[in-house]
Amino acid sequence: MKKLLILTALAILPVKAVIGADYTVDPAHTYVSFAISHLGFSTMRGKFNEQSGSLQFDPAAKEASVMIEIDATSIDTGYAKRDAHLQSPDFLNAVENPTITFKSTSATWNGAKPATVTGDLTLLGVSKPVTLTITSMKCGPNPFNKKETCGFDATGSIKRTDFGVTYGAPAIGEVLELQIGFEAVKN
């Protein structure tokens, strides 16, 4: 029985490796940004400067999974004092929770391209399901470095109080609009 399981696994693994492809996030072309209401007066925007992750993408089998790790201490709103405050226990508590992660659990497809990706977003140690809408996607060789690359743009939103980020709510907006530009290079 044990031998049978091993043989089965050996038989399946190469097939998966040929059909699916593994990609590694290109941090230079991955851009996780957000927008939030500031007391209703205007919309504040910011981004994270450090992220890593991976993508498994198999359009033939309509399988896609993505994992992104974001360095919470790399938050950048263009104003150092606000960034320090956003890293404090009032918001991201970045010293205690230095990593924000998104791990996909399922995807819906529109033809050969994924339409939405649903996954668990972990922020402040709290994991909640979040659905990202894929607004554009392209896979193919990068014309400059010839490397096989996949990229997509995605949008979504989260309610920060669901993750325990309650400071200043609801005056400072509770809903964060997310915009993600993502590129990954084939391993």
């Binding site: 150092a80 004092k81 404090s88």
Partner: protein, 279 residues
């Protein structure tokens, strides 16, 4: 009403001050631990308004809220169990050091060896020195409450200036509660019972500001050296003679040196720290 209670100055100044004053005046003839219960009830009310009754995820700040609450209960109850002053001192020291490790180990455990040793040596020393300085003034109510009030005010203002309103508000709430209890002590004249004199009674006064101050250094951007003058507040307060027959004068004199240090440190942090507030 809900809008009123969501205002920071109500949550961390008015509510704890009024509650502590009322509870102290209500309990002063019933129990020698009236000020402990006054501070506990006031702090719980403020913490509920500031943080909500939320413990999950159990962040360092929420651990501090739980520990401060537990320290009041422990201080009020354990002096009935531990009669020996030496035993109380040892117990108090153990509690505070275990609390320190519980709050910060999640982060300290990720540090390199040198940083870990530096942090542990610094924070353990700070807590021990703070405890020693408060124990020295345990039998002088004006100095004890004046030092507690000033130290908590200094930690609260400095933490707020150093980018964490949450830590700052919690310390300020305790400062306001101390102020309320101190006013209650002034108003109660000679009819109040002697307060608890056991060493363990100082647990909340040195543990709460120490944990909140260290958290502001670690989680926000309070410069570590700001904690040195703040820790010296009970010592500065002890230098002021308590010779007046007026409780009000004694309370005022006992609070002044601490207030000068607290406001000076907060102003320095505001001016020089990478403050997140004020943008």
């Amino acid at each position: 009403m809900e809008q009123l209670l969501s205002r920071p100055e109500i949550q961390s100044a008015v509510v704890p001050f009024v509650i502590a004053l009322v509870v102290y005046l209500g309990l002063r003839k019933i129990t020698a631990s009236a000020w402990l219960w006054a501070l506990l009830v006031a702090f719980l009310a403020s913490a509920a308004l500031i943080n909500g009754l939320i413990v999950n995820p159990l962040t360092g700040t929420r651990k501090i809220i739980l520990l401060v609450t537990a320290s009041f209960v422990a201080a009020a109850l354990l002096h009935w169990i531990l009669r020996s002053d030496n035993l109380q001192r040892r117990f108090t020291t153990i509690i505070s050091q275990v609390a320190l490790l519980w709050v910060f180990w999640a982060v300290v455990g990720r540090m390199d060896s040198a940083s870990m040793v530096l942090f542990l040596a610094g924070s353990i020393s700070l807590v021990l020195v703070s405890e020693y300085l408060f124990v020295r003034i345990i039998d002088k109510p004006a100095q004890l409450h004046g030092a507690g009030f000033s130290l908590l005010l200094g930690v609260g203002l400095s933490a707020t200036a150093a980018a964490s309103a949450l830590l700052g508000q919690l310390a300020l709430a305790l400062a306001a509660a101390s102020g309320g209890a101190l006013l209650g002590w002034v108003l109660s004249g000679s009819v109040s019972r002697q307060q608890t004199r056991q060493s363990i009674a100082v647990l909340p006064y040195f543990m709460a500001p120490a944990l909140l101050g260290i958290a502001a250094v670690m989680f926000a951007r309070l410069p570590w050296y700001a904690l040195i003058p703040l820790t010296s507040i009970p010592f500065a307060v002890s230098l002021v003679p308590q010779k007046s027959s007026s409780r009000f004068v004694n309370a005022l004199l006992a609070s002044l040196p601490g207030l000068v240090i607290a406001l000076g440190v907060a102003y320095y942090v505001w001016q020089t720290g990478s403050s997140g507030s004020g943008y």
